[in-house]
């Protein structure tokens, strides 16, 4: 018994020691990731994707090139920290680094986090380090600006359009030449005309808008309807929502969204991959869907049309947003970090990132260059993006505001429970306002 217990103690203390040892080596690993403690010209970057991903592959090459060519003798080191679906993993690491003050020199962040990060002084203004901002798309500037200063620079863009199945539209007797373009979009009424034709031909819902995806998607994809109607989520300063989110214009946008479900054109319970499998002729989705369709559903012959616009304004808006580079406040090498960010957001690097990863470009010059090389559906999204893209609001409490917006979309689609959109939006406007500072 005694011998046994001694043996056991030995084992357990060894295990404990091993555990502690691991902890130490882990933290020292983190420290070496921190630019501050490494050699004087080393700049560390944290990114939210894996080295093996398409983005990662482009990044590896970019960094190699940067380290060979930059004249300042800076060595950039990238740490790849893949995030999970909702941003966990990577953001957990950022949050942990905040408590131990071990952030790297440059981080990537999701665009809508810019305000919170800037307000909490995690990232600092980039204006004095970056010279070539003129060519950046307005949506990239909007997304990265907080209190009139540029804090983050998106390295790509994203967009949403209405995917249509050419074959199914033609079968229903729709002349594809009459479909809308970015310069000549349809009004909601004209769009309803198409939906009506399709619905009577295909008997049932014909448009998947992703109502079942109760996430950031609902604000991202549905806010353009509000903007097109002349409505707003908050005032320009981001201090008031009452009088904006419950305005007549905003109500008209939600009225349109609600009517799509009420008329049976769209559905809150779409069939999984309904567009991909020829169930629905129309699909409101993002640029990422093109890759999926091209690689796995080659039978679907599709095109993309821009958002329909409110008949009251005829103004086209489309959603934008992306991950962006930011420079931490804690960096000891702002000059060097600035040089790196400038390089990573230069025309050639953004071109490589967009082409390598099949995403929309963040610079006008890259957009012009890509327009000549990509296929027609991508052209539509690039054009819509650079002409009509608008960034989501930059608010410190963005997660809360976004959730309220998401709930508003969902609740308006439950038209039987919420026939009175005016009172729904009044409540929601107050809820949003309680989260503004």
């Amino acid at each position: 018994m005694n011998r046994m217990s001694k043996y056991f103690m030995l084992m357990s203390s060894a295990a404990l020691l091993a555990a502690c040892g691991n902890g130490e080596s882990d933290s020292s690993g983190e420290n070496s990731g921190n630019g501050g403690s490494a050699s004087s010209d080393e700049v560390t970057v944290w990114v939210q994707y894996s080295e093996e991903s398409a983005e990662g592959q482009v990044m590896v090459e970019s960094i190699e090139e940067f380290n060979e060519t930059n004249e300042e003798g800076i060595t950039a080191v990238v740490e790849y920290i893949p995030r999970s679906g909702s941003g966990g993993g990577y953001e957990d690491k950022i949050n942990a680094a905040l408590t131990t003050d071990s952030l790297p020199d440059v981080i990537t962040l999701d665009g809508p986090n810019t305000a919170a990060y800037a307000n909490s002084q995690i990232i600092q203004p980039l204006d004095e380090y970056i010279s070539s901002t003129d060519d950046l798309l307005p949506s990239i500037i909007e997304q990265g600006t907080f209190n009139d200063e540029l804090y983050s620079i998106g390295y790509s863009e994203s967009g949403v359009g209405f995917f249509y199945n050419r074959t199914m539209l033609e079968e229903a007797g729709v002349d594809l030449d009459t479909l809308p373009t970015v310069d000549d979009p349809w009004t909601w009424d004209e769009f309803n005309g198409l939906l009506d034709t399709l619905a009577s031909n295909y008997d049932g819902p014909v448009l998947d808008m992703g109502f079942d995806d109760q996430s950031e998607w609902l604000l991202y994809a549905f806010s353009p309807f509000v903007w097109s109607a002349g409505g707003e989520i908050t005032n320009e300063e981001g201090t008031e929502a009452v009088g904006y989110f419950d305005s007549e214009e905003t109500v008209s946008a939600f009225d349109f969204i609600q009517s799509l479900v009420e008329e049976g054109y769209s559905t809150i319970t779409p069939v999984e991959k309904g567009f991909h499998t020829g169930e629905y002729p129309l699909y409101m989705s993002g640029s990422w869907t093109m890759q999926e369709l091209d690689n796995e559903y080659e039978d679907i012959d599709y095109g993309i049309m821009p958002y329909p616009v409110s008949p009251n304004t005829n103004e086209l808006f489309s959603p934008t947003g992306s991950w962006a580079y930011g420079m931490t406040t804690s960096t000891e090498k702002p000059e060097e970090a600035g040089v790196l960010i400038e390089f990573l957001t230069s025309e050639q690097e953004l071109y490589d990132m967009s082409m390598g990863n099949s995403v929309l470009p963040a610079r006008q010059s890259v957009a012009d260059r890509m327009l000549e090389e990509v296929e027609e559906p991508m052209q539509v999204l690039i054009e819509q993006n650079s002409k009509t893209g608008r960034a989501r609001p930059t608010l410190i409490n963005y997660p809360q505001v976004s959730r309220t917006f998401q709930e508003t979309v969902t609740e308006s689609t439950y038209y039987e429970q919420n026939p009175d959109l005016n009172s729904l939006l009044e409540t929601k406007a107050q809820e949003i306002e309680s989260n503004l500072e």
Binding site: S12, Q121, P270
Partner: protein, 314 residues
């Protein structure tokens, strides 16, 4: 029941030891005893006690995740906000709906299954494995699988309903049905585990007791009521307590299947705490929610023990 007995023996063993701890003559043995406890205490301390104490402290602060350095003590402000927080009230209402339904359904199913497989027929092994297999699957996987089955437009379940002439149901997209669907899926997933514990309890009831009752002229139903159930009491108590605590911790199923919707009908307190802390970054307020909710769980666990009569089972 062999296992359960072993556990009880363990308890009495500890008690015997604790007496001898006061005895100075066996000092060496005591030290060894404490050293045995040490690894467990360190692990529990690091991952349970210290975090719990930190939550308690944070609940009195305005800890915002992005500005840990600016955290300030704000006394009871979080709790004041909490009292008027309608979303928290909704979530607590939802979890009570869940608990009230899942307790009888899951425990009843588990007992029924245990009785069914508690025979030495051929093939019971197959059923044991079949009933237990959902338990070993990841909750996320189970939830995603059910999402496909429950899809109102193309799911298997609605296909079956329509084949037998019943109307298709909205399931998870209906604020009235979503919670019941989650109750059903959770009970289906979890019952196999309690079945196994019940089974152990059943197999530990001595054959003589049944023989005696047969001699007294008891039929099967009377045997079940007067022999099986009372003999299962310690097992049942363990199952009721653990199931209750697990039920209060519901988060994965609504997170994967409904994201707390539709219209907050499946938002549970733990999910709300997670969202407040990690999405909204309000660690201070989330900690206050945790403290409050932890209190609620403790109260109900104690109440349950009182009503089910846990104190008589020593």
């Amino acid at each position: 029941m062999k296992n359960t007995k072993g556990i009880f023996r363990g308890f009495t063993g500890v008690r015997a030891n604790s007496k001898s701890l006061m005895d100075n003559s066996s000092f060496k043995e005591n030290t060894t005893g404490y050293l045995f406890l040490l690894p467990a205490l360190i692990v529990l301390g690091l991952f349970l006690f210290i975090p719990a104490m930190m939550s308690l402290y944070y609940s009195f602060t305005d800890y915002y995740m992005l500005t840990p350095d600016l955290t300030e003590f704000i006394a009871l402000d979080n709790f004041k906000t909490l009292l008027s927080d309608a979303t928290f009230r909704t979530s607590v209402g939802n979890i009570f709906q869940f608990v009230i339904f899942i307790m009888p359904i899951q425990v009843g199913t588990a007992l029924g299954l245990a009785l069914l497989v508690n025979r030495s027929n051929r093939g019971t092994m197959f059923y044991k494995i079949a009933y237990f297999s959902p338990v070993v699957m990841s909750l996320v996987v189970v939830s995603v699988l059910w999402l496909y089955i429950l899809n109102p437009a193309s799911g298997l379940l609605n296909e079956i309903l329509q084949t037998i002439g019943l109307p298709a149901q909205p399931f998870l997209s209906s604020p009235n049905q979503a919670m019941y669907v989650i109750i059903f899926v959770s009970a289906w997933q979890g019952a196999g585990y309690q079945m196994l514990i019940f089974l152990a309890g059943l197999q530990n009831i001595p054959e003589e007791v049944y023989e005696a009752s047969t001699i007294d002229g008891a039929n099967k139903w009377q045997q079940f009521l007067n022999v099986t159930l009372p003999m299962l009491k310690p097992t049942s108590l363990l199952i009721l307590t653990t199931t209750l605590i697990d039920a209060f911790k519901l988060i994965i199923q609504p997170m994967v299947m409904t994201q707390g919707g539709p219209l907050n009908s499946t938002l549970t307190p733990v999910y709300y705490i997670f969202r407040t802390g990690f999405t909204d970054r309000q660690i201070g307020f989330a900690s206050a929610l945790t403290v409050m909710y932890g209190g609620i769980i403790i109260i109900f666990t104690v109440l349950q023990r009182k009503f089910v009569g846990g104190d008589t089972n020593e």
